[in-house]
Subunit: 257 residues, 2 copies
Amino acid sequence: MKSELTEIASAVRNAVLPVLGKASASEIVGRGVDGAPSYGVDAVAEKAAMDAVERLALRLNILSEESAYVDKGAAETLVIDPIDGSRNAINNLPFFSVSLAVGSRNLSGIKYGLVMNIVTGDVYYGEKGKGATCNEGPIHTRLFDEKKSVFLVYVGTNASANAYDIMRKSSIVRSFGSAALEMCLIASGSADVFYMRSVDSEHALRIVDIAASSLILREAGGEVFDMTGNIMDMRFDMADRKSVIAVGDRSMRRLSL
Amino acid sequence: MKSELTEIASAVRNAVLPVLGKASASEIVGRGVDGAPSYGVDAVAEKAAMDAVERLALRLNILSEESAYVDKGAAETLVIDPIDGSRNAINNLPFFSVSLAVGSRNLSGIKYGLVMNIVTGDVYYGEKGKGATCNEGPIHTRLFDEKKSVFLVYVGTNASANAYDIMRKSSIVRSFGSAALEMCLIASGSADVFYMRSVDSEHALRIVDIAASSLILREAGGEVFDMTGNIMDMRFDMADRKSVIAVGDRSMRRLSL
């Protein structure tokens, strides 16, 4: 499945790069299935992904951020976020990704996951039970060392007040704006925790955002928890939304409580 | 001066990219002139910059983050930060830059400034009185629109409590970790404000961090203020440290007060 997912991701990247910074990229062109605005750059990415899926004649149902569920009667589903970090893309802030995952029923049923950094072309890939890679090289999470800690934290008006407490616990705190890619940075040992706690469920994450990156992180040695400290699971349902704490070192789980 | 600065920046980028993610990149190899640790990747960048300056036989004094002031008896000084965002580089977080500026005496005496995004190769350039560009195309700041606001805010244990108040005023808040590059994102109209207020002067910014980006931002229509609301100036002195608010639209100046 790796070559197929890479081909879809590359098609998205090739379609998106030329429209960055253009006025058409940031025009609202519709609404996603969850009611969130879809921008020009999202539509370009979605079309490129769908065209690539068709070209590859993949026998998979499709669950995408931008369109309704497509049931092809297949056993497995392709879970797509054409652009994770849309607000970065529409503002031409250089950090966003395409997220592609294949599996059945729920997050724990994901078998293959690929996240491509659209800006750099870096490819993160995970296969259930077979580990995770970045650009073909194996990746692993790192052990937490308080003196060298790096926290990735979602902030802004839609972030929970807890996010601001978490931020004060690390000298290096970043907020990059693409959950899928930030979770891959935990997987590759560049950071210790990704903390995304929203003020309400309307602004929390969906299966399309974290399907691929959760598998990649788990295969690299990390774990994803919900805000009750339980191992995260989610249905293949765009109405299911959760806040997330993703860690490289499981001892960090306590941050969620 | 543009071709010379581009050549120096490219030399830094070509030297840095191959060491990213290697253990040698994050080893502490010494102390900068201000006592801050220098990492392997900083040393590689510094050497590449100095070698390029020598090759180009530039008649300029040199003020660098990593080494002592070099007085060549020239009228102007090259102000270098070989890697702005060192902590991103040592952790392989994909957002850091090289900052190069030429001028005399103080920030307002800077005549040429260049910032290169080391990850993507994007080049931001400003020349006093002649405007600013990104990859040859002219750039301009944007007018502030509260509904579409994007704030870039420095956070973590060394950030002032005010930073947390500022963050709650925008739905889109990012913290990317390279002041020079974040100020260029204000210059190019990708964001509205860069707010870097440290808890003490020891953690504030120095002339090497903002020499180039301040000129680029001003030439693109923005302004840089200190925390008293005055237009920022700084001496060519590594002991001079200040917190910074950089804005695209001058009406945002009130945020600093």
